[in-house]
Point group: C2
Chain length 574, copies 2
């Protein structure tokens, strides 16, 4: 990582990507038009008057979620609906206790407020959603049954996934005219199950930042502190799901892109094992790249809803009939375990970048509570993490950024700060040969094998560790992915879960020894120096729980047990 | 393919591989020593006097399997044992009706005869096998139960897979000193299940011929006609399993290497979907190559035994605990279907290379019998097969043969004819870049998707087609893999099954129209011109049955139904 970090510092010329004149002339008008369409999509009667300019709110570290409740921006009924779990909602709709339209309208309103505060949406299409909700209510009345297990559930979608008849650009301006004729497989599966769509959410340029900046609508903000990022690359999903503007959101993750925004923005998110869910249909620079496949997965404020999503998507959705890449591995019922029956390996530090004080405090507190509840907790010392991080960084860009370059060059759009950063991963624009790629795959496989064998032989069920060395970062200041990317390389199913603990400027200061701490790399120094207790006030703290490949069910079930012990509640936050 | 074919004809210089002086001096003595060890492994009392020199028998098209019975080279008891299915044998051993030692000795003897006729073994270690069989009998006596579901079953292993404490060379002379410390995962799983090992079998140089020539022991011969090849790359498995010297054999397949030798040599063989069984541990040029992963799989004279292998390997063997690449997808019980309930798409011709008369006759006959039995048979027109074949040929060598080159150059060994052929697949020694590799993967994925969608939408359960355009070829005369490699590219589970039909020089002549036939390529011309009715007399005819990814269970079950209709019997062949 040091090499690419230095490259970044000397501002490596990336002039083969940008063509600002052409962009201004040919593409910027299209982007402006796109923004107008987004504005048009906002239902006027749902709009609120903001309590200040976004800039001033951001500089205060304003908490819009708290404000939502304090200022009673929704009716009691709307609060009741939008602060319900997806599982409860589909249950009530199926019993006729709620209509799809009622549910939809409440979320559509909260989504608009979410967008006003956090800039989470690239596209809002409330009318289409309402029509679908009405259709589902009619269907229910006529047939006395639901269309599927997600009947009437509003679901937010990361924009990158193709949507029938709409533009899908993946935050590449060059794709701004790319009207996709079919839904992505995931979108289609969810529609088949009864979901209602109304919003497509923000994501960064290149889809390779743990943040959100792009030339379409810029940055998304954190629903707990507008001065912070909501993470990325499923940025808008973090904002909207954390804020409660969507009961269930769909992200994708190749290095942390579901888990980072979930952890930062106050919700849970699962990176499933590859090929259990589909990633077919969408815009991505990773077509044909199978060294570190991307995955899609759910984000929600309840782990029951993560399970609902996985179970219905797989068992009823049968994605393998629509996508030859998906494995017909049924979602097994795994009961929430007794903590006494599981062994958790705890990795406090990954050996690369030290965790900041709030993360350290949360890790300790969680381990204490788990131990007190009878959990078997052992230390997990990082295995070859430096090699793992170097390997995955090389794999990300071992096409010499060929596909990124094509997508970016298409419009010549200006590169954002973190785009320049990510284009320097690994060996940047150096095109690897196939033998070089295969050698990296071999290292990856040996790491997978070593972790798997270690867990099997030491009877460790899960690894508990930070999601990121810090809480939600300031905008465009997140450089390190090592805690999340490790599990992409290993292809371990990994849950980012909320601890119910929040950053506290008083408690979360570096311990006195930190001054003497000798940084292990420039990257660590950069990340640690970004921490300032006051700036991060109130940021939610999410940690990761990982299990062996294909043990997604067990990871989710253990996550349920853990948040229960921690008494996490992300609804009716006040 | 045309380009590489022409390259081959002009004898493209491959002088960067060979170093004959060095080979003669440094390596040939090691090879000679290796051969001596093989000779030493042959139990003298099992050896028979051959009815002629191998050369004369080969030139007569001698059938050693027929001779085995006619000359009564085994006792009645030995015939009874070695002409039983593996399923029957493990059943009888578990009931105490047979001992492991009795079973072992019978197969060890038949294996030696198989080797004398067909040159199937690279390594014979009867003593070790006998010791293991004794241990298992003791265990059974002491505990009153078996050690696992394959308790006492002799299993033959393709040499390429690592074997604890023995040399594993994969037919690369440079690896002749490579003593592997651990079993391959497959070998370990089988050992855990109770298997008894005694023979490691022949395979070609590079492991990339559908034939068997190498610098270790040369060619293996066909157990039905010594003038023909037993196929490859699981060449020795074809010979030994077809001859009955092993009740169950393990091969590997990246382009047809299980199915070709099974079809040619008179047994059945399954190429499972990737990652259901392990390929971890062994010598291969495909480390880190995941565009077309190799698979391992069973070969046997009974499809029940194919099922026994898959079921016990997966459900009891749990390979995912030993290999992070394996999917914990249980082997489902799928009953042998009623033919009326399945739809079979028949592909008589893949659009690339025309089938020879015996294959055409067998295809027609099988379709007739299936139709008569009530089967729904529809025509399956090849979908983009030329593109598929070009793509897979490029993918095989898209490392520019880097890993082959390293393995071959290590000793400078002379290249065999088909090695030169296979080094010219795709673009031969041209090293592809990662973006080029990814584009090929994308073509592969679009083909997988198109075939999958076609089968789902047209409600076709299986594709029936030739395994190869001809029956077992003459030695080193097999150039076309298009019928088998298609299913490697698609990653469809594919069973090569015996039809019970054999080549007949009287029946199997080209129809008069063939003279006017316009070849679609040089490859087709070459393959068709290789056909001469007299030469191929008595060659078994095996066809392929393929299903969608992960439907291995259904493919095997349908295979059982089909061979029942065809009344196939590969035991007690006279």
């Amino acid at each position: 990582m040091t090499a690419s970090f230095e490259q970044f510092l000397i501002n490596d010329p990336l002039n083969t990507y940008e063509d600002l004149d052409r962009y201004e002339k040919e593409w910027k008008p299209k982007v402006e038009n796109y923004r107008k369409l987004l504005e048009k999509g906002i239902v006027p009667e749902y709009k609120i008057k903001l309590p200040g300019t976004i800039e001033s709110l951001a500089s205060q570290g304003f908490n819009p979620l708290k404000y939502l409740h304090e200022a009673k921006l929704l009716s009691d009924k709307e609060f009741e609906i939008t602060d319900s779990t997806a599982s409860a909602l589909v249950g009530k709709i199926a019993l006729g206790q709620l209509t799809s339209v009622e549910v939809f309208n409440a979320f559509a309103k909260r989504a608009v407020i979410a967008h006003q505060f956090t800039n989470c949406a690239l596209e809002l299409f409330t009318e289409e959603g309402l029509e679908r909700a009405k259709y589902l209510d009619d269907y229910f009345k006529k047939n006395g049954k639901t269309i599927g297990p997600l009947h009437g559930l509003p679901v937010s979608l990361k924009e990158q996934m193709s949507y029938k008849g709409r533009v899908t650009h993946g935050s590449y301006v060059s794709k701004i005219d790319n009207v996709t004729e079919e839904h992505s497989v995931t979108t289609q599966v969810l529609e088949n199950l009864g979901a209602v769509f109304y919003v497509r959410t923000n994501q960064p340029q290149t889809l390779m930042h743990l943040d959100s900046n792009n030339n379409f609508i810029g940055l998304s903000r954190n629903p707990y502190n507008l001065g912070l990022s909501s993470g990325g690359s499923s940025s808008g999903e973090g904002s909207i799901v954390g804020f409660g503007g969507s009961p269930l959101g769909v992200g994708t993750d190749i290095g942390g892109s579901i888990r980072a925004p979930a952890a930062y923005s106050g919700c849970h998110g699962l990176r499933p094992t590859t090929r259990r869910l589909s990633t077919r249909g969408g815009v991505s620079c990773n077509i044909g790249q199978e060294s570190v496949p991307s995955v899609s997965g759910p984000m929600a404020r309840s782990i029951d809803d993560i399970e609902l999503y996985m179970k219905t998507y797989i068992n009823q959705g049968k994605p393998w009939e629509l996508d030859a890449w998906c494995i017909p591995l049924p979602w097994k019922e795994v009961l929430k375990p007794d903590l006494k029956d599981i062994t958790i390996g705890v990795m406090y530090d990954d050996g690369l970048v030290k965790a900041t004080p709030p993360i350290q405090r949360a890790m300790k507190q969680v381990v204490q509570k788990l131990t007190k509840a009878g959990g078997k907790v052992v230390e997990f010392k990082p295995i070859r993490t430096a090699e793992a991080y170097e390997t995955i960084n090389k794999l990300y860009s071992c096409d010499g950024n060929y596909f990124q370059r094509e997508l970016l060059k298409g419009s010549g759009e200006p590169l954002t700060k973190l785009t320049k950063w990510c284009l320097n991963y690994g060996d940047g624009d150096k095109v690897y040969s196939v033998p070089e790629n295969r050698k990296l795959n071999d290292i990856r496989d040996s790491l997978r094998q070593e972790y798997t064998t270690y867990l099997v032989e030491n009877k460790i069920d899960f690894i508990l560790c930070p999601t990121y060395n810090n809480v939600a970062p300031q905008p465009e200041c997140v450089y390190n992915w090592s805690y999340t990317a490790l599990f992409n390389l290993l292809d371990f199913p990994t849950l980012a879960f909320q601890t119910g603990i929040f950053q506290d400027p008083k408690l979360d200061v570096w311990d006195p020894d930190h001054q003497k701490y000798k940084y292990r790399s420039d990257l660590e120094k950069l990340e640690c120096n970004n921490y300032d207790p006051e700036i991060f006030k109130g940021a939610p703290i999410g940690l990761q729980l990982a299990g062996r490949r294909y043990t997604d069910e067990s990871v989710v079930a253990a996550g349920k047990a853990i948040v229960e012990i921690l008494n996490v509640n992300l609804y009716n936050v006040e």
